[in-house]
Structures are given as structure tokens and as C-alpha cells.
Assembly symmetry: D2
Homo-oligomer: 362 residues x 4
Amino acid sequence: MVGGGEGAFIGAVHRIAARMDGQFQLIAGALSGDPARARASAEALGLARSYDDWAAMAKAEAARPDGIEAVAIVTPNHLHAGPAAAFLASGIHVICDKPLAATEEGARQIAEAAGASDARFFLTHNYAAYPMIREARAIMAEGGIGDLRLVQVEYLQDWLASDPGSKQSEWRLDPARAGAGALGDIGTHAWQLAAFVTGQYPSQIAAEVSALVPGRAVDDDARVALRYAGGARGGIWVSQVATGCENRLSLRLYGSTGGLEWSHEVPDRLIRTHLGQPSQILTRAQDRSASSRTPPGHPEGYLEAFANLYSDIAAVIRGDSTPAARLPGLADGLSGMEFIAAARRSSEAGGAWVATGTGTAT
Amino acid sequence: MVGGGEGAFIGAVHRIAARMDGQFQLIAGALSGDPARARASAEALGLARSYDDWAAMAKAEAARPDGIEAVAIVTPNHLHAGPAAAFLASGIHVICDKPLAATEEGARQIAEAAGASDARFFLTHNYAAYPMIREARAIMAEGGIGDLRLVQVEYLQDWLASDPGSKQSEWRLDPARAGAGALGDIGTHAWQLAAFVTGQYPSQIAAEVSALVPGRAVDDDARVALRYAGGARGGIWVSQVATGCENRLSLRLYGSTGGLEWSHEVPDRLIRTHLGQPSQILTRAQDRSASSRTPPGHPEGYLEAFANLYSDIAAVIRGDSTPAARLPGLADGLSGMEFIAAARRSSEAGGAWVATGTGTAT
Amino acid sequence: MVGGGEGAFIGAVHRIAARMDGQFQLIAGALSGDPARARASAEALGLARSYDDWAAMAKAEAARPDGIEAVAIVTPNHLHAGPAAAFLASGIHVICDKPLAATEEGARQIAEAAGASDARFFLTHNYAAYPMIREARAIMAEGGIGDLRLVQVEYLQDWLASDPGSKQSEWRLDPARAGAGALGDIGTHAWQLAAFVTGQYPSQIAAEVSALVPGRAVDDDARVALRYAGGARGGIWVSQVATGCENRLSLRLYGSTGGLEWSHEVPDRLIRTHLGQPSQILTRAQDRSASSRTPPGHPEGYLEAFANLYSDIAAVIRGDSTPAARLPGLADGLSGMEFIAAARRSSEAGGAWVATGTGTAT
Amino acid sequence: MVGGGEGAFIGAVHRIAARMDGQFQLIAGALSGDPARARASAEALGLARSYDDWAAMAKAEAARPDGIEAVAIVTPNHLHAGPAAAFLASGIHVICDKPLAATEEGARQIAEAAGASDARFFLTHNYAAYPMIREARAIMAEGGIGDLRLVQVEYLQDWLASDPGSKQSEWRLDPARAGAGALGDIGTHAWQLAAFVTGQYPSQIAAEVSALVPGRAVDDDARVALRYAGGARGGIWVSQVATGCENRLSLRLYGSTGGLEWSHEVPDRLIRTHLGQPSQILTRAQDRSASSRTPPGHPEGYLEAFANLYSDIAAVIRGDSTPAARLPGLADGLSGMEFIAAARRSSEAGGAWVATGTGTAT
């Protein structure tokens, strides 16, 4: 693991997710850019091998016969590209947190390293791993709502409604390290989720990107209108200043014959609508993806969805290609970068419609 | 009453609302443009006086010593202006369904007639009469959420996801009679509701207005980005093709210290958020507007809110000016027309930001 | 109307309900036992004829050629029997609030008067008039959940968690005037609702009846276990001290193949479960009883359900026997009295199972 | 681990829960009574040491210097007592699934073994480990709802509405192996949960215990009335035939000044009511027990709550006595057995009130 030392949030999530199904063991890490903190964190976690920096780690682990097979990169955004490229170059699989990078140059660096390596690159768009999101994707794939007409994704938080002054907020509010604000932190999740479930990206977007907290250097609210090639319309709204919304992600799709509604607040449930007929409440009892560890009615949540990614990643690394199709990777990361850039371009042009790279989603 | 004959929907709503508190009596009507249907409808309702056309009705009622005091105009949009102007000219108060008119010319005609008359003009934006919406307005007026940052109104229906071929849909899908589609039918409600609660209109909007059902001549979906003079951002999304949404109106406001969330699906409830503190569930027990007929816990709904308008209108007609401030009227109607026009202008200009007439709301 | 003067609650509800569909006109009343208050209340309501007492009213109205056709009795429980018997004896239809009476003797008096009169007796168990309750009954009648196994009705309020000292609470906390506490006030509603939907009464019950607020002379909480002749089991829980529950009535039925769940908090919705299949959300769009005044998605509530009773009563009085089968009447009232008595008997015998008069419900 | 071989449910839950925080390692097991299945299961899980029977395992592990520190017993109920007693006698801590045993004799056997051993005995009443349940307990401990008046616990499932014919159902429907049906399987959870949060057990109960599926040898539905020494009243309703309820556990407490409502369907949320004031929605942001792995808004569920038990158990085993007070153990198990016995006694006596061993809860 690179990053994830004391005070970090997502590193602990990755560790639990990796451990949940017993298919990964945490062996080595460069847990912090600060060597003292890196060592202290490694000791607290009982790590076998602690490194002071990721470059040394990539080199040393590649050289060991018992070197790590995969590395999780859970650093701030501006520190994704360097380690990702280094580990890929060393033939070690990379599991990288989103967004892909802080800059387009960083993204390119990763893309080139991935192209030149046999090792695989995974991006932890964890929301796409919820059982009911997988079921929603299956329903869409079989044309379950008729012609797609409307796509709406919201991702609302309030933890940046004021400045919490935490380790989490500090780098996220710094353009140099975060690259983007809400657009990158949660906007890329929304963008990927819509594409994952519908199987397509919008062809054009128009955006209004704002920093609503006075004095803030990065965006904290963005509303993006979407046009799909097939004529569907949609919207993405992400905000980190929606007071009272802890982590409210939701997805709504409406088609000519039905619809799907999912909210992260009750992630085990998917509402399926049918024009002129009663709506249905689908639960994991109806999920065909076999992504659950407990029976329906035993709430599974964020960590389980994250662990679903890790389980699939383990399977792919072992050679099972089946789950590969539902695992987010480089293409998703590049599309996310493009989304950030396009949203900014549109917003700066007064909300003009701008083209995105269309195409089929993962 | 003008309009509201057999097969109509909103006419019956107006009649129940007017009757609920026993302050109006239905005496006379020109219930349909088709004289035979007008008479049959009048007979079915036990009307004392039935007219074949509204012009004759306005003249005759104005001449009678026991003529009507107020008229409800519940015709399709293109038939608001004529009767409204005629009754206003006859000194009879007008209670008109929204939107104000089908065309800007019709709107002007009403505005001129209202300016020249001592009679009053009311517009039935009924959603603004829900007790918890009135309470939300009171909370906003006292600065209850801090600085306003985000405004989001959704109004989603699905009854036009296919063409029902009903009397209701027939004129609404005809540009000549409806003027606008979803923008006019439900968009003006969303626009007025946001202004009613926040006390302000957006200064600029950018819109994407679409007709998603193939071959449709009027818009059935619109997403509108909002900019407020004070820096707040917002969105209105209205759709009549959101499959599975029967009549889903919702309002969300987020400020620097708190927020408010209201959904028409459970209209007796208002969620009030407080940054860093638990959210609260407000019910009519907390409403200070005294707009209820039953104690909290006894669900009140659409008809009761509509009747709140009629009760206030009766009070105003009798000379009590207190409720006037919360009654929608000509200014709301004109602003709604401006909203429709601005949204179209923006959408036709590729979603460019366009100015709206800013100003304080009702 | 008898009762319903200033300060009363349910009288105003009856008046709105009666007025909503324009099929009743309030002509005469003995609105209070206090003549001065009766007159003042009558004047405030614009009543044509005000009486100082109900006996005089029954006599005078029966004698007039334009006398009232029906009377609504909305007095405290101990004042049901006298007026009901008098009006029935005068040939005037009686619409009486529940419970039937404060005492078994009062109930007998009404039953005898009803047996001797051609006039009809209606009891306003208004919850049975909700569209989705009628739909639930239709589903049960067609065997929609398989063999009935479980019945659960809850009716929870909190307005007597402390003593509000209101006109409403004053007589309800007095055993002499109320007869029973929660058992009579809301328990009879729960009892009737279960029977209305399932079509059957339990054959045996076992009860724990309590007064939980110190010093209270009537029960404020009761939990009653139910045994049905066919083997089903059930429970009724009513409480007026469930802090935070404003008026929370709910019904749940589970059978061998499906179930039904309804909550008064969102009365337009009925959850229908199917063993091994997704649950469905039924709305008024699925109601086959044609009991709505507005389309689905436009919330209807307590007053509309009450008005459904009045509309059906008007139809029955005019000679249409169709709605009679779903209108609560004397049999429901007598069964409610029996429920109160049986629950007390059981509770006093330490929760022993006691027989109730079994039989088919209304 | 004893039990938990192929086809088992709760064994896998224990394994994930133990692994989640990285504080346990699964070393040895007697995973099935069938030696071949035991070996195959052990191999699939990569166990270091597999035993054909638990007696041999207890003896061998106790003898090894690197023997296990603790054992999880996840067998059917009739196979709790033997292994628990054996491992306790060997000085190995026991983590046992509920209910304590299938018979009172089994319970006594465990109690005696625990009394004679220095090793500790833990019972996995996992629902008591939800953060919001711990917060509810804290609120109760500080008198947050005033005088307790009402306690209601429901635990409704439908997986035995018909006979699924699974490994899970097979032993649970066999009185010899399960001891009790719904009473033991989920009733003991409900009983423990109420006691955990309120800090007290009822002093008397009256029960109706039923087998509603024709031909069933164990109970599948039970409704139990509760009397508390302080005057409060309550109810427990458990059912495994509530069609459509997947695993619906809920807790409601009402006191003289407030109340608490929790539902397992959205376990991260606790509704706190205040008489005469708005209700509050508490989330993990308000939980003071530090029992979360993710920030509020990132749903945690069943596995996380289970893992909370394991983390606390690890801490206690290491010598930290702080979490001991909130860990269910022998006393809870004995009380659960008493609950089963008392409920049956009452039901067989026609629902008579019977005394339970009163006392303070864990």
C-alpha cells in the first residue's frame, strides 16, 4: 500500500475491503511521504516491510521472489501518477483510488505505463460494486426500461460546507494536490456510475461549476447537463456543501417503459418502475450478480461494496477473466479526467455544450 | 366558473377546494365552449345559471344585483386571457389557473385588464399553500439556514411518457392551446415554489428544453440551471416522462448553516437540517401559519392545500389583507411567463445563460 | 348536527367531510349542551336553525316538511345513545361518531331504536374509507395473500402522554363520559379496520389494558393478542402515550403467499408482498374502488377518507345500495363495544383468552 | 471454529467479522460433524489444522504451545453445549452463537464449565453491536426519554413461510436440534436487544406461541406481552412467516418525555422523539461509542456490527476490560433460555402471566 498512514481515511477502507474475503494480505507499504509517520503507521498495522518512499518500494518488491503481487495506491490525487507508473513498470498490479490523477499529464503518464506493462490497472469506483447497482446494470443491458430517456445522478455531501480543517480536507481544498474539488472527488464517481449502469457515456455536456464557500480555491458544487447520442437527456449534480447530506449518492433512470431508482442511503434496495403498473422494490434477493455475503434483509453497505471490488480484482489477478468486465479500470479513469476537463471547459464558456469522448462504457 | 365541464380535471379540484371551508357557493358557469356540454355539465352540478359562453356570462353577471363576486377560470391555457380580461373589466374578481396564459400577448392582455380594474386577480399556485411550505418560507424569512447556497426543485410526472389520448393530454400537447409543455404546466409551479419559499427569483438561468417522446410538438422535459444574485446556485428539473413518478414535486434548500427538504409525496413533513447536528422532522405541529384543518398525524393533502388558497382568497375579498402577502397573483403569473420565455431562449441558444427579471418574490 | 360546537374537533371534520362533495347541507343543529354556546356556534356557522337541546331538535325537525334528512352525532361518547335513539325514533338517519356508546346499556338503546326505525344508522369508522384500505379489502376478498396467517394493527398517538388539559382530553379522560380510554377512542378503529379488510373478526382475544400515566382513570395503552377461527394469529396495539407518534395507524397482514402493509402516514400507498418475489408499491392508480377525487400522486388524506364515508352515505340515503356493503354501521358499533368489554375482561383475568362474538365482518 | 462448513450461513459471517479488523486469524477448525466435509471445508478455507471432531480439537489445541486462543462455535443449537464446555475446560475462550443451547440442561452444562474456567464465554448477540443501538443504550442510560413506559421489539422474517428445504432450515425445524423455533432463533435476539438498550429485563411475560405453517414441529410465530417492574409495558413479536419481511428487526421505546425508534432496515439511523418538539434523525455522526469504520453516510451493516463484537472480544481477551460491559455473555444466554421457557410456559397456560428472573441487564 502506498499512502494510507495515520489520519488517512480511504486507506483504512481499502485495508478492510481487501481483508474481508481473505484474499489479500497486507505485506509491505510506503504509508506516508513522511518517513517517520510511514514507519509508525507500518508498525501499528504490523506490516512486514515498511518503505520510506514508493519508488524504493516498487524497486525492492519487484526484486524479491516473495514481492507483493499488487499495490493499493491511496494517496492524494497528485500522488497517483508517480507510484502507479513505477509499480506498473515493475510488473506489479495497481489498485488505484479515484480520480485517476490530479492533472491530465498525470493521467497520460499512467496510461503510458499501463500500455507498456503486463500488469493490470484497477480504479476503485466502489459504488459500481453494489449488488443492486450490478442488478441495475443487468436490467439495463436487457433493455428493461425500454428506450433510455432520462439519467439523473446526484452525489451530495456537506462535510465541506465549512472548512473542517482535517487531513482529509486539507489536500482536497488545495488545487495543486487535488486537481479538482467536488468534480474530481465525487463527480467522477457520479460520471462512472451513470456510465456503468447505462453502458454509455453522454456525448455532450454543459456545466456550471462553482465554489460556493467564500474564498475556496476549488469547486465545491457542480451541475452538469447531459446529452446522450441516442437522444436521452440527463443531469449530474454533485455538491460538497449540501448541508445535512452526509453522503447522498443516488441514481435515477427513466425509459419509455420503466425506470430504476437507487439511493446509497438504502443501498440494498432498487426501485423498479413500470409505466402504468405498480413499482417494485427489488432487494438483494433479486440480484443476479452473486455479490452478497449475507442473505437479503441483513444490510450490507459501503465496505462490502468496496470488498466486492477487491474480490473481483483477486479473481482477475488469479486468471479468472469473468469479473473483468465489471471492474473499473484505466478507461474509466481517463473518461473521468475528460469529464472534469469538459465540465470546466463548459463552465468557463458560460455553460456552453461541449463534446465529450463518446463511446461505450466499461 | 369558466371551463371545468365534463371530462375536465382541475375544474373539479377548484370546486372541492372552494367548497371545503364553506366560503364559496357555485352559482353560475360557462363550463364548456361546447354549449350542449356546458348545459349538461351545469345541470349535473346543479348550477343556478349556465351560460353558453364566458363573454355573455361576464356581461350578465356584472349586470345582476345578485351576480357572482368571483369567477374561477379553469380552461386550457389559451383561454385564460379572454375570460380573465372580460371578468376583470366587469369588476368581478378572477381566480385563474396557472400558467397565466398561453402567449405573452395573452399575459399582457390580463395585466392590462388587471391594471384597469378594481377587481383582484389570483393565480392558483396551490403548492405554495401547503402548511409545511408556508413554514419553510417562514424559516427562510428568519434566516433559518444561514446564507442561501443551493436551491433545487424537481417536478416529475410520467403521465405523458406515452400519449394517454385523454381530454387532459389533448390540449396540453397542442402548442397552440398550451403555449408550452412541461415548462408551462409544471415548470411554472416549480419556479413559483422556489421563489415563494426563498423570497427571491434567480437572476440568470440556462436551460435545456426537450421533447423526448418522438413526434411530440411541445416540450416534455426541461432542466434549468439557476444563478441567484447573492451567489447561490440552483436547478429546476421538470419532466412529464419520468416513468414511475406520479406527481413528484420536491424542494431542497441548502444554506451555510442548515437546509430544508420537502417532498410532495409526504407533504405534511419538512426535514430541517443543521450543519453538524441531527436533522429534525417537522410536521404540522411545528407550522406557524395555522393552515391546517386537522391535527398533525391526520394526513392533509392536495385538496386541502388548494382549499387554503380559496380560504385566503375569500378572506382577501372580504377585506382582510393579512393573507394577501402569501397569495399568488399577477406578478407570479408574469414571472412564470418570463421563466418559460427565458428557458426557451436559453435552450435555443445552446444553453446560454440568459437574464431573467430579477426581483423579490411575492 | 348534534355536538360540534366551539372547541370541538371531530365536528369540524364531519362538516368538511359532508361538504366536500356537495351532497349535504348543514341546516340545523344542537351544537352544544350549553345553550349559549350552542347559539354562538350556530351563528358562527351560519346555521338556519339552532336548538338548545337535541331532544327538541329531533322533535321539531321531524315535524317540519323541510326537516333534516340525516343528523351527525359528534358528541362525547356518553351522549351518543340518547340523541341517536331520539333521531332514529323520529325517522331521521343517524351518522354517529365512534365508539357506538360509552356503556353497553347505551349501545343496547341504540340497537333497539335502530331495530324499530326505518331510518338508517351509520358509524364513522373513517379509516375504512381510505382508497388503499378498500383496495386491501378487495385483494383479501380475492384471496390475494393466500391463507391468512398474521394480522397486526397498531394505532399509536402521543397526545395523552401528558395531560393536555384541552376540551378534547377532558371528557376522554373521564370514565363516566368516555366509557373507555384508548380502547374506545382508537382501539375500536383498529378492531374495525382489521375486520373490514380481512372480512372476519377474531374468535378469541387476550389483553393487557393499562393506564400508564400516573393517576389516570382510563386506559391509555392496550395490547391485545388475537386468535382467528381459521388458525391465524394477530395483535392489536393501541396507545395514547407513544411519545412522538402523532396519529400512527398501521395495518399489516401476512398470508401463505403474500402480504399487505399500510400505514396511515402515507395513506395513498399500499405495499403488497409476494413470497419469493419483489414487493410492489401500489398507489391509488391501482385502487379499483373509485374512491379518489384526484389522480395518483396528488396526496389525499384524512378529510378525503372521511368525505368518502359521507358520499357513500348520501348515495345510500338516496337509494343506491351499492356502497352499503362497505359502510360501517350498527353491527360494527356493537362489535366494537364487545371488543372493549372483552379486552377488559381478559385484562382483569390476568390476560386470559376470552371469546369474542365471532362472525363475518361488515 | 467449530461448525461453519460448506452450506452453513453463520460460520461465514463469523469468519468475515473476525477478519474485518485484522485481529483474529483462523487457524484450526472442526468445521463439520461429517469428517469428509470437515476436511473439504478446511481445505477450501486454507485452514492450517483441521479436526474431525471438536473434542479432539479442544484437547489438541490446548496442548499445543501455538494453540488457538479462542474458538467460535457456530453449530446448530444442540451442539453448543458440548464444545463450549470442552473448550472452556481446556482454557480456550469461547465465542458462541445464540441461543445459548437447545435445552436447559445444555445451558446448565455451559454455565458450569464457565464457572470452573478462567477462559471467557461470549455470546454473539450481534444486533446489540450496531453503533446506533449503542447510542440508544447511552441515551437510555442518561434518562433521555424520561420514565420508560413502552418497549416494543419486532423481529419478522419470512424465510420459513414455506419450507425452503435448505441446510439452514432443516435443523431449525427439528425440535431435537433447534430446541425452539422462532423463539430461540430470533426471539432471544429481541429479548436481549430490549434488555441491552433499556438496561432491564421484564419481570413478567405472557405469551402466545404458535406454529402457523401446517405440520410444523417448532414454533414459527410468537407474541409476548411484557411487564416491567417499574410499571412499563411492552411487547415482543417475532415471526418467521411474515411474508415479505426479509429480516425486519425493530426497536421502539417510549417514555414520559421522549422516545427512540430504530429499524434494522436502515441501521445507521436512530429516530429520537421529544414530546411536543420535532423528532430528530440521529446518524452515526451522533454515536458516541466510536463503533464505526466509515464516516456517516457510508452505510454500515450487518457484517460491521458483527465485527464490532469480534473487535471488542479481541480487546477483552487482550486485557482491556472497557468493552466488556457491552459484550453479551453467559448471563445473556441464560436469560434467553429463561425467556424461551417462560414464553412456552405462559403460552401453554393459555397466555397466563408468568414471572421471569428480573434483574438488571448486561
